[in-house]
Symmetry: C2
Subunit: 139 residues, 2 copies
Amino acid sequence: MLSKKTKYGLKALTFIATRESDLPVQVSVIAKSEQIPQKFLESILLTLRKSGILGSKKGKHGGYYLRMEPLDIKMTDVMRVLEGPIAMVPCVSLNYYEKCDDCPDEHKCSVHKLMIEVRDSTLKVFRNTTLADLSNTNG
Amino acid sequence: MLSKKTKYGLKALTFIATRESDLPVQVSVIAKSEQIPQKFLESILLTLRKSGILGSKKGKHGGYYLRMEPLDIKMTDVMRVLEGPIAMVPCVSLNYYEKCDDCPDEHKCSVHKLMIEVRDSTLKVFRNTTLADLSNTNG
DNA sequence: TATTAATCCTATCAATTTAATAGGAATTAC
DNA sequence: GTAATTCCTATTAAATTGATAGGATTAATA
């Protein structure tokens, strides 16, 4: 299941990307429009900012803005920040590889191969999708 | 993340498929060989039996066996039984469709389209993979 | 400079899900 | 009748997720 964190994050990014103006957008505005608990959204946007996808401006008239054009924000990056590794098992993760604790030999593991295929096919989708694609409502 | 339930289930199925004999395999044998907690595995194999993928024989010399040839056991079916819906959000699930509780209009939802693509690409993998593929260790 | 409005940060909590365990009932082979 | 097995239900412990709380920090502006 996709976590609410990721779902909310994607919706918020889409919301920001769809704005005409370049002015920072307040959390409260996004929360109200997208019906997301504000405090929860705050923490999500903070994560996105720390990862470099969003920038922020503090104080009055502050808020969040995109650091790049929507066309240059790939889903691979967004999903990794919000949802974590794309692979379903650590032993096939490209960016967060770890030996599975319950698996003596991953080369003999029947699950391993299958999960590599799933990872690759999912990666293909995320690599070919940018925030601009999400924002395009005529889809 | 892939649940342990699914991982254990796939390993157990592979174990059974790889046996030469058609005799039922005891839970204890699989548990020991694959290093899976026996009681946990018991409940997993029970689920697989109830779903029709495995058959069982009770009593002495009892155990579990495949109801079909490995080549005819598709990952779509196995994954749905063990892991649940393949879609990451209920609103794009083919077999378990539900409206997302936090989404007023899924046609305007930017996440929806992305999740359809992910679903389709994952489905493609699972539809093209059978238990026979998992069992083939020369892969 | 004081006020207001915003992000930033840390801690906590409640609910859910997952992983595992326990104990025994039912069934079957021998 | 005994031993070995699946079957069933209930319980528990740990981890994760979703959400909340409270206040520190920063910046605009009157």
